[in-house]
């Protein structure tokens, strides 16, 4: 029979801590939901991005990719990436139906073989086009993909940021933990630290040149992902953002990959 006093004492000491923990988890989740709600209703967008890969010795290589994204109510977005550079992969297209915790559906069109291939999307941690961005860094950020823990508020450039820890709840993530900086006004993701499976700092994402579209939706003009362990980095420069372009489900069917332009 445990001593009732000790139990009482333990309860006294631990309860506030547990309450704080629960409170910070609740706060983290609320911030994630607020960020999702802020970005809701964009319907669809198209954009182009230039990806500059830089290795340790400073050699660079460039990819040109066009992105089309369709907002899906009650599920992850549908997204199409069309590759224009390097020239040998020109015409390659990748279609992704993102889901929350379930694995995404993904198809790849290989123009040399004129073949649409359904591919496994379970490897979230794999590098996207040889860059320092993993597939999971570029997918749609559904709230249920993570559990959250609010850390603090602190200044980040001109803004005040919520600093939130999040822990991937989906399988096969390359990370054990992410720390994200979201500004308190419009929930722009300005910075993120990624910790690998050994809990060591792996990568840092820094986003900037934010622009507002349709008087509401903010998108970064640049995103730089630095890998602290390999010395490699990748700069994504976004351009030609257009919202509500009239894209529909018809533009995101696996068999239409053969004819995307």
């Amino acid at each position: 029979m445990p001593d009732i006093k000790i139990v009482a004492l333990l309860l006294c000491i631990c309860m506030p801590l547990a309450a704080v923990a629960q409170d910070s988890q609740q706060r983290g989740l609320e911030i994630a939901k607020a960020a999702r709600d802020y970005d809701r209703g964009f319907t669809d967008f198209t954009a182009s991005m230039t990806m500059t890969l830089k290795n340790k010795s400073g050699d660079t290589s460039v990819r040109e990719i066009r992105i089309r994204t369709l907002e899906v109510d009650g599920d992850g977005d549908k997204s199409l990436s069309i590759f224009d550079e390097p020239a040998d992969v020109k015409g390659t297209a990748m279609l992704t139906y993102t889901h929350g915790l379930e694995p995404d559906d993904q198809w790849l069109y290989l123009p040399a073989l004129k073949r649409v291939k359904r591919i496994s999307s379970r490897n979230k941690s794999g590098p996207f086009m040889g860059s320092t961005f993993a597939f999971e860094d570029l997918g749609s950020q559904e709230v249920e993909k993570y559990t959250y823990n609010y850390l603090r508020d602190e200044p980040c450039g001109d803004w005040i940021c919520h600093v939130v820890e999040r822990f991937p709840a989906y399988e096969h993530s390359g990370y054990t933990r992410e720390v994200v900086w979201l500004d308190s006004e419009a929930y722009r993701l300005v910075k993120a630290d990624f910790y690998d499976r050994k809990k060591a700092l792996l990568k840092t994402l820094t986003a900037g040149d934010f622009q507002q579209y349709l008087g509401h939706y903010w998108r970064p003009g640049s995103m730089n992902m630095e890998n602290h362990q390999t010395g490699k980095s990748t700069l994504l420069e976004w351009g030609d953002y257009q919202f509500k372009t009239g894209l529909s489900e018809r533009d995101f069917r696996s068999q239409t990959l053969k004819r995307v332009q």
């Binding site: 290589s61 020239a87 040998d88 004129k114 490897n123 004819r259």
Partner: protein, 393 residues
């Protein structure tokens, strides 16, 4: 060709939509390590290929056009020197219907080591022995999207004959195939109009396709004959056939399971064949970003011995390595073993981007322990190393 260029020029200058030009030019060097089996066959060869492509749209993207050509110059093998229109296509999109009219190249199926259900295009057999290079096929094609699946209706006027290496070429049958003496079962010959239908749908992690084809078989029977000099040759004979095919792919965890199944009815022999196998991927091996996929596929063909193809009772085991690096380095290596007569072939394909616009490809092919009655017997001395350097524009 001039007329084609003028037609293209019209599009490029006056279309109000988008238009683009791309493609590649490549030098290919091949070296055979063993003495040729048949007289006159070369040991080394250097060839040049050009594959330009134009495409664009008008009507706000409701109409698209594309042209893709392929040309190979080959000094030593007259059979390999050829030009082909891979694509010359008008595509019209009307809601859930897509109309394609012109010449097109398409792919059906899921398997890696051989392609059973893929019967629309003729194989450009002089380009590669893997059957993945194909000749453009004239067609009228309606693709219709329904909630319950995608339907493809194809009318295929105009038949394309398979390409064959000339006397000097390696990787050919013991006797030269004389394509001047081609014969058809149908009295309409090359003008026979073929028909095909396909249903395909995705059910969660399962992709399913069911296809039907009625018309001239793309696989010729090679019959003994005599050429104009009185030398023995093989002459291609194209039968009529009806084929029903099923292809399915299931993704389960890190496994991809694949099945292709056909039933073919033809005068010479009916044929039931299947290929069944899996690919299992190990992601991020040794804490790197590289992936390795292990592939195993078993092929079966019920035709009597002598009429079977290479994949009659064969097991393919291979591995695909993707480094996922900035140069997109990849290696695919595989063994094909005949489980009856133990003939073996081994193939490695490796590729890597160099700079922004170049791509280097290596291909190594060996044949070992080849049974005299195996369809590969004619290739028994044709182990080769191929180096291909392509510039993409």
């Amino acid at each position: 060709m001039l007329r084609l260029a003028a037609w293209l020029g019209l599009f490029l200058c006056c279309g109000n939509g988008y238009a683009e030009f791309s493609g590649n030019v490549a030098v290919e060097a091949i070296s055979f390590s063993e003495t040729a089996q048949f007289e006159g066959q070369f040991d080394e060869n250097l060839t040049l290929s050009l594959a330009p492509k134009w495409d664009g749209d008008w009507n706000d993207g409701a109409d698209l056009w594309s042209v893709e050509l392929f040309m190979r110059a080959d000094d030593k093998d007259a059979g390999r020197e050829h030009a082909d229109i891979r694509e010359l296509l008008w595509l019209h999109i009307d809601g859930d219907n897509e109309w394609r009219v012109g010449i097109n190249t398409m792919f059906w199926g899921v398997a890696e080591s051989q392609h059973l259900v893929d019967v629309i295009n003729q194989i450009d057999a002089v380009e590669s022995i893997d059957g993945e290079d194909k000749l453009g096929q004239p067609m009228i094609h309606l693709k219709r999207y329904q909630d319950w699946g995608v339907l493809d209706f194809l009318v295929l006027p105009g038949f394309r004959e398979r390409t064959f290496n000339a006397r000097e070429g390696r990787l050919r049958p013991p006797l030269v195939v004389d394509t001047d003496q081609v014969e058809y079962e149908s009295s309409a010959g090359q003008q026979h109009v073929d028909y095909a239908l396909r249903f395909s749908q995705t059910y969660n992690d399962l992709d399913l396709g069911v296809s039907w084809f009625d018309g001239t078989s793309r696989d010729p029977l090679l019959l003994p004959g005599i050429d104009s000099n009185g030398d023995p040759v093989l002459t291609p004979f194209y039968e009529q056939m009806t084929q029903i095919g099923i292809d399915a792919q299931l993704i389960y965890l890190d496994w991809i399971w694949r099945l292709e199944l056909i039933h073919r009815k033809a005068e010479s022999a009916d044929r039931d064949a299947f290929i069944y196998g899996f690919e299992y991927t190990f992601y991020g091996i040794l804490d790197s970003s590289a992936d390795i996929g292990a592939i195993a596929e078993y092929s079966y063909d019920n035709r009597p011995e002598g009429q079977r193809g290479v994949f009659d009772r064969d097991l393919f085991m291979g591995a695909r390595l993707a480094l996922n690096d900035a140069q997109s380095s990849e290696v695919l290596a595989g063994f094909l073993v005949d489980t009856d007569n133990h003939s073996r072939s081994f193939r490695v394909e490796a590729s890597r981007r160099i700079g922004a616009s170049w791509k280097l490809e290596l291909e190594l092919q060996t044949f070992a322990n080849i049974d005299d009655n195996d369809p590969l017997a004619a290739f028994a001395n044709d182990d080769y190393l191929l180096v291909d350097m392509a510039y993409y524009f």
